[in-house]
Every structure is written in C-alpha cells, then in structure tokens.
Amino acid sequence: MPKNSFYHRICFIISGLYLAFTITPTNAGDFNDIQKAAKGKTVYFNAWGGDAKVNSYIAWAKKTLLDSYDVTLVHVKLTDTASAVSRILAEKAAGRTTGGSIDLLWVNGENFAAMKHAGLLQNQPWVTSLPNWRFTDSKTLPAIVSDFAEPTDGKESPWGRAQLVFSFDSARLQTPPKSASELANYIAKNPGRFTFPQPPDFIGMSFLKQILIELSGVNPSLYQPVSNADFDAVTEPLWTWLDAAKPNLWRSGRAYPANYPVLRQLLGDGEIDIAIAFNPADASAAIARGELPNTVRTYIHDIGTLANVHFLAIPFNASTPEAAKLVANFMLSPEAQVKKADTTVWGDPTVLAMPKLSDAQRIAFTELARGIATLSDADLGRTLAEPHPSWVPRLKAAWISRYASGN
C-alpha cells in the first residue's frame, strides 16, 4: 500500500528529527533546549477524566502552557488509565516505536509497575533533570521516588499527593466509625447503608488494602513482594471481614458502584451514609458544586489511612517527548502546584517540600482556603504506606474469584 509506506516514511523522518533533538538536551541537562524543541508542539495528555475538578484544572494548565510556552496540551479524557496502557501496548505490538498516540500519562501504582516491566516507558531517566525537581525533597517524602514501593527510576514525575478519606453527612450520622472493626459494627447495625467501589476499581482496591492493613496490624510482609508471603494467611482477616459485611452492604453486596464519583453521588442521594475518596478536598469541592449537602464532613481512621503519590509518565514511543517533559516540569512548578492545591480548583495536595520554596511561594500555599469539609494537615497527619504493588493483582484476583460470580 503506497499510503502505508508514505506514513512510515514520515514517521522515520519525524523520529530522526526527534533523535536529533532528544539526545543533546538530556545529556547536556540544559532545559532551554527542551523549551526550544517543545515550542509549537502538541502534547496529548492522557488522564482520567471522570472528575470535573481535575478537568478544569487541566484546562487551566492548558491555557497557561499555551500562553507561556507555546505548547498545546490536549487532555485525552480516560475512563480508565489501564485503557491507555492497553493502547501503548497495541502500538508496541504494531511495531510503532515513535510517533505514538500518547505523550504524557497520569499514572501510578500497578499501572506504572506494569508499564515499567513491559518496557512501555521512556528508556532514559528524565525526571531529576527537570529544573523544578529542586523544589522536591525525596528524603521527607520518599513516595516521590518510590511508587507503591516500586522504584520510579526517574521515569515518572511526581504530580500530587493523595490520601484516603471518608465522608459522611453530619446531619444524619453523628459519630462515624473510625476503624475497620467499628466500621464492621456500623455495617451490621445499619444494613444497606455502606458500600465501596467495585474492585478492581482503584479506590475499591485501596479500600481493601486499607482494611487489610488495619486488620493485619500493619503486617510487614505487605511491604515485601507478595511471592515472599503466605498470601492466604495474611489476607484471611480481610475475607472474614468482607464475608460478614457483605449481606449488610448496599444492595446486599450484589451490586457495587463503579467508581468513587458514583459512590459520592450515592452519598448525595442519601442511599448510603459513608463515602470514600482519595482526595482530602473532594467533599468540599462537591459541596461547592451542589453535589453534596453542606452538612457533609470528612474523617480518617484512627490508625491512619493509605497515602500515595500520583505521577506523570512519558511512554517509550511518545511523539513529542521534549514537550511532554516541559509539561511535567510545569506541573511541578510552585505556580501550578498552588493552583492544584486550591480547593476551589482541585484541592490536590502538593508534592513540593515547603522548606525548599521561597517565602512568597510558601505563603501562597499557607494562605489557601481549606474548604468546609476538609481536615487540617494535623488531622491528616496519620498515614499508612501503600503495600508493595505485587499485592494488588493478587488481591484483585482473590476478590474477583470470591465475589465476582455474584453468589
């Protein structure tokens, strides 16, 4: 087919051009070259698009990037990050090593681990050479270089922090249950009023991990590869807990909401009493948009809740890797991070280290309004680290084989 070879030829020319551009700047470590190479380029940013707040933040970034750097950011809204991983894989299967359809991907945890092991990421580390990397501190926040205990190897740039928080309507519920066992009692006493997003949904899996960590007394083997542990013995308390809870879950545990925005909607509809989110400011923002009553408040469990970092990664075959790096650097800038932490925009906590910022930059962060339902930093202080990523597929498979046939 003549068309085919025409496209291939163009791909070769483009890839040649990129090679010419890519090799020099990373080696020289000079960000100006990256800026030059990125000028006028379009970056296809694949990011979960299920939350209006996140989307409006990315829309802001798009405008700023276009004005300041002449880079066009296109937000490709995913319903599921794994579908983007799937597309990169399809491109690898088709032998397309350059000119890929994804330039930048919002990712963490098992998706990152899967991409790393399948060789779907940029070959060379690039993150520490970003100018704004100097505002971070991996000593105080080790999670920025270790994604669910998987070393990032400089192949994904930290974007924001997340922590599991529970929300409840204080008009209907006075004292929310603050541990796995209290929650079990609550579910038994209030049938049909609690549920969680259906695994393998990200938040659903996080909820399982939270309960497992609590019930196992923070078992150290959870932080080792799962192959070194007795999976059945370690996870036994979780299944007992779930089996007991199931008949008293929403819809008697025969159906689960698909994801956390749907879960939040159920709280707004009054069908359930407690919802879960991976963002401390989620409830406040939902109140501001009229999606939750203004009597909703948040809490975390006494032992602490799961916390992690989410990242931006560049696929191995990105069409405009230089422009993608520029975007990642911009997203790491104090300017972009303040905007992101603003509850009225997104409310996603920053990955920057406050001591490394200038006074003015620090003040911008401390002056942010927290939102009516958002906990203080002190209240959010107790965190639990993510288990080793190898636990996720095993937990997922075990949950599915136990509950997915619907009996």
């Binding site: 087919m1 399809a90 299967a93 399948a118 749907v262 879960l263 069908e271 509950y403």
Partner: protein, 558 residues
C-alpha cells in the same frame, strides 16, 4: 473494470472487521509478540475458561439480548398494528426521528435516575405518600436479572425498529392488504399479524439481527444498567482489555471470540423462534382464527409498548433538569435552586460538538456517495453475491468488542490511527449497511418511466441523475442521511478505539461523564449531543419541504 470497482469498495468496507478479527484470533491462541509470546498455545483459552463468573456472564448476555430484541420487535408490531392511517404513520415517523437519535448512555442514565430507590419516581411520592425521608434500602437498578438493561435496550431499539418498519410499510399497498384481511373476516390485529407483519418482518429482518447482535454485546448501557457481579460478557471482555496486567489481553481475546460464539447461539435460537412463530401463525390461519377479541387489547398493549419510549423521554427531561440543578437531594421532587454553573463550561464542549458534527456529516455523505456508486455500477452484482453482501454487513453482524482491539493494532500498524480519515472510514463501515438497506430498495422501486421521458427529451445520464433521480429519491436519501448521522453520533466504542483519544466526540464525553456520576455536566453534554441530530433533522426536513415538496408524491407511480 467498473464491476471490480464495486467489488473493491465493498471489500474495502468489510476489511476492517476482518482484520480486527485476525488481530483478536492471534492473541486468543497465544500469539502476541509485544509481550514476547510468539508461539501458539492453549494457555489463554484455559485461563479464559477459568474466569470467575464466565457462564453467568454469558447467560446474562444471551438472556438480556434475546428478551430485549424480542420485546422490542413485539412492541414495534403492536404499535404498527394500532396505527390505522398512513397520515398517522407519517406523524409517527417525524416523532421517531429525534427519538432514535437519543444516545444509549442518556437513556441509561435516565433509567437509573428514574427507578433508583433515591430516584425521581420515589422523590415525587416521598415523603408525602411513602413517609420516607431516606431512600429505602431495597433497590431495583441494577437488578441481578438484567431487567433494567432489557428496559434500556427496548427504550433504544424499539423506536429504531419502528422507524424502519414504518419505512418498509410505506412501500406496501397497505389499504389493499388490510381490505383483503377485512374481506376474510379478520379483525385489525389479525389482519396485521397474518398478512402485513410477515411481509414487513422479511424486509427488516436484517436490522433485527443487527439489533440482536448489538443487544448481546452492548457496553455503554451495560456499564450503567446491568449487574456487575458478574457483568454481561462484553463488559467482562472489555475489563480484560483494560486490565493493568497486560497479559490479561490474551484471555480477553478468547472472550472476544466467545462473544461471537454467543451471537451464533443467539442467532440459532432466534431462527428457532422464527420457525415456531411462523408455524403458530400457519396453525391459526388453518384453524380459521379471526381473533376479533384481540382487537380490544390492542390499545392497552400499545400503551405498554410506548412505556419504554416514555422512559427515554423522561430520562432526557431529567438530564435537562440536572444540567441546571444546584443541589437536588432526596426527597426533594425538584432541585432546591437552579444555576447555570454547569453551562458555563459550554465553551470546552464546543470543539467536541463540532468534531461530532463534522464526523457525522462527512461519514453520512461519503456513505451515500459510495452507495450510489454501487447502485449505478453494481447493484445486481452486490445483490446476487452473498460474499459482497456479507462484506458490507460484517461490521454490524460481528460484535464490536470482538474486532475493535484487533482493528486498533491494524490501524496503528498502518500508522493512521487517531487520524480524521481513519475515523471517518471506520464510522462509514457502521453507516453503510443502513444506507444500503434504505437506498437499494428505493432505487429498485424508482419509477423508470420518468427516466425514459427524460431520456427521450435528450437528457444525458448525469443530468438525468441530477434532475430526475435525485428528486425522485429525495425522501429515501434524506432518510438515509439522517439515519447515517444518528448512527455516527451514537458510536461510542469504535470512536474511542480508533481515535486513540486524539479526536474526541461529545458522545464519548457524555458517556464518560455519565459513567463517572457527574449528572450536571453529563446533562449539559447530553443536551449538546442531542442538538446535532435535531439540527440535521430540521435542516433535512425543511430542505425537503421547500425544495422537493411537490415531487415526493411521484414516488411509486401514484
């Protein structure tokens, strides 16, 4: 030369589905070089067979698909049999146009919002009638049987079948057929059931099969309405393709093939039902059953048949209210206050609307052009050659989930995925069968005497086409364009797989918003999405009325 052009183009539009199937079959048998799997093995099949809930999922798909298709068809026929006059039918057609264009996801969202324990119906009667200040804990949507999904499918497919059946009945000498029925002493119901409907059924059999295949493998509706433990087979397969564990694609490919097997089983069962119903009709005719009593129930039955469509309309209304609602909590029957907050983002949706618009118009126009090429150069050839027919209909007869992943690899290999031409091309393969289905019979029935007159007046073929054929075919062409546009607007899975996310449409946005529980923004997106077919419908209708108003009656030599 000319004939091979027809063959070539027909094959060109069957090719993607075929390539996609190959791209699925290879990993199903263990061949997937991207994961360093280059030898054939049965591992993937064994893994697939061990999928928890596989058989329940398959049974759920089979059950909901067959019931939804059967019920849609019955409802469609009941409504047809109730409509007494051709002017009433013309009115119905005009009403159905916009209804057919309501996207699946909108109907699904509408059903959830209407029938959930915290839904609109409960809100309307709470707490006044129920005394409830909190929604009850029993729930209907989604139910384990799949009833909500069936309801959603009927709400979408019944108007579609009805529109096609009305088009088919427009070509029949209805008054004469019904007069024959009356002469035989049949009632209204039996005249239709024994004389007219069998003819119409034969004419719309293919679209019915298409509806069956689609219902068996629907994804966007199933995500919202079907049970999820386990989900219907197509969702189970899609989950496999979207699994973070990349090796899950191999058993998922087996699932995609099994989905085809399920379709074949359903087709066999459908064929069996056809035989049974045919035999039953024969038996009743032979026994001389006049069925006058049945006429009394006809009105009642047609009311029931209209219910699912009403739900579709209610769903739209709910979407409109949500788009301007500011805080709407149980048990309030209406939002506490209104705001245009969600509509302020309208600028960010406009590029998506224009993408949808451009895509639909291009795909529909090009498809009509291709069909005309076939009609003028190889009509007999396509109609006689089952292989070519199969090539045209293949994309609708193979479940989308069964070839899209393979197609994605193929397009990526050719380096054209995510490009406008590729997207228009793939939309065309889904539109062409419908346009062929509408235009081919109309072209065949075109009154050739006008042609002879024009020819004797010295008009050449091109001028005859422009000044005689086009006006004569104005009605079917506009119907074809409208169906083409409506089908293109509604395409969800093919758009996300082929565009690679690079070209997004308002439909993709609306589904994604709805699936993520953002009722307000989803309401805005839905309204915008509906706008496109409505505008097209209006423009086509006005054009017909003022340009060809006097000519459409010449069809059929009346």
């Amino acid at each position: 030369m000319i004939n091979s052009l027809t063959t070539l183009t027909a094959l060109l539009f069957g090719l993607p589905a075929l390539l996609g199937l190959i791209g699925i079959a290879l990993p199903a048998f263990g061949y997937f070089p991207a994961l360093n799997k280059t030898s054939l093995s049965g591992d993937a099949i064994r893994q697939f067979l061990a999928t928890p809930g596989l058989w329940q999922a398959s049974w759920l798909s089979l059950k909901t698909g067959l019931i939804a298709t059967g019920a849609s068809l019955c409802g469609c026929f009941v409504i047809l049999a109730t409509s007494s006059s051709s002017s009433m039918m013309a009115k119905q057609r005009r009403l159905l146009g916009p209804l057919v264009a309501i996207p699946h996801s909108t109907i699904a969202v509408g059903i959830v919002f209407l029938l959930a324990p915290s839904g609109w119906l409960m809100r309307l009667i709470s707490p006044s009638l129920t005394g409830l200040n909190e929604p009850p804990i029993w729930g209907f949507v989604p139910d384990t049987f799949g009833f909500a999904l069936i309801l959603g499918l009927i709400a979408k497919e019944l108007p579609f079948l009805l529109l096609l059946a009305l088009s088919a009945s427009a070509t029949l000498p209805l008054p004469r057929l019904l007069a024959i029925g009356a002469g035989l002493g049949y009632g209204q119901f039996t005249s239709w059931a024994f004389i007219v409907l069998p003819i119409i059924y034969r004419q719309i059999r293919l679209p019915i099969i298409v509806v069956l295949v689609f219902s068996l493998s629907v994804v966007d509706m199933a995500l919202l309405l079907a049970p999820s433990l386990p989900p219907p087979l197509a969702v189970l397969v899609l989950n496999g393709f979207h699994d973070a564990d990349l090796a899950a694609r191999l058993p998922a490919s087996c699932g995609a093939l099994w989905q085809i097997g399920l379709v074949l089983i359903a087709l066999l069962l459908w064929r069996l039902c056809e035989r049974l119903v045919g035999a039953a009709i024969q038996f009743c005719r032979w026994r001389g059953w006049r069925g006058l009593l049945a006429d009394h129930f006809l009105g009642f039955l047609s009311m029931i048949a209209i219910l699912p469509m009403l739900i579709g309309v209610m769903g739209l209304l709910a979407a409109l209210i949500w788009s301007v609602a500011n805080g709407w909590f149980f048990p309030a029957a209406f939002p506490a206050s209104f705001s245009l907050l969600h509509w302020q983002d309208i600028a960010s949706y406009l590029p998506l609307v224009s993408n949808s618009f451009l895509l639909a118009i291009c795909a529909a126009f090009f498809s009509v052009m291709v069909v005309f090429l076939w009609l003028y150069h190889g009509r007999g050839q396509i109609q006689q050659n089952q292989f070519l027919q199969a090539a045209i209909y293949l994309p609708l007869l193979v479940p989308q989930i069964s070839f899209l992943f393979g197609l994605q690899i193929g397009l990526s290999w050719a380096g054209i995925d995510g490009s406008w031409p590729a997207l228009i091309y793939i939309h065309m393969i889904f539109i062409l069968p419908y346009i062929w289905l509408i235009l081919a019979p109309a072209f065949g029935k075109m009154d050739r005497r006008h042609d002879h007159v024009a020819s004797s007046l010295g008009l050449g073929p091109i001028r005859r086409f422009l000044r005689v054929h086009l006006p004569l075919l104005a009605m079917p062409i506009s119907a074809a364009l409208f169906i083409g546009i409506a089908v293109s607007i509604a395409l969800y899975l093919p758009t996300i797989f082929v565009s690679g996310g690079r070209i997004s449409t308002i439909t993709v946005e609306a589904v994604s918003l709805a699936a993520n529980g953002s009722r307000g923004p989803a309401g805005v997106a839905t309204m915008l999405q509906l706008l496109i077919p409505l505008i097209c419908f209006g423009v086509i209708w006005l054009f017909l009325k003022y340009r060809f108003g006097g000519l459409t009656n010449m069809q059929g030599g009346k």
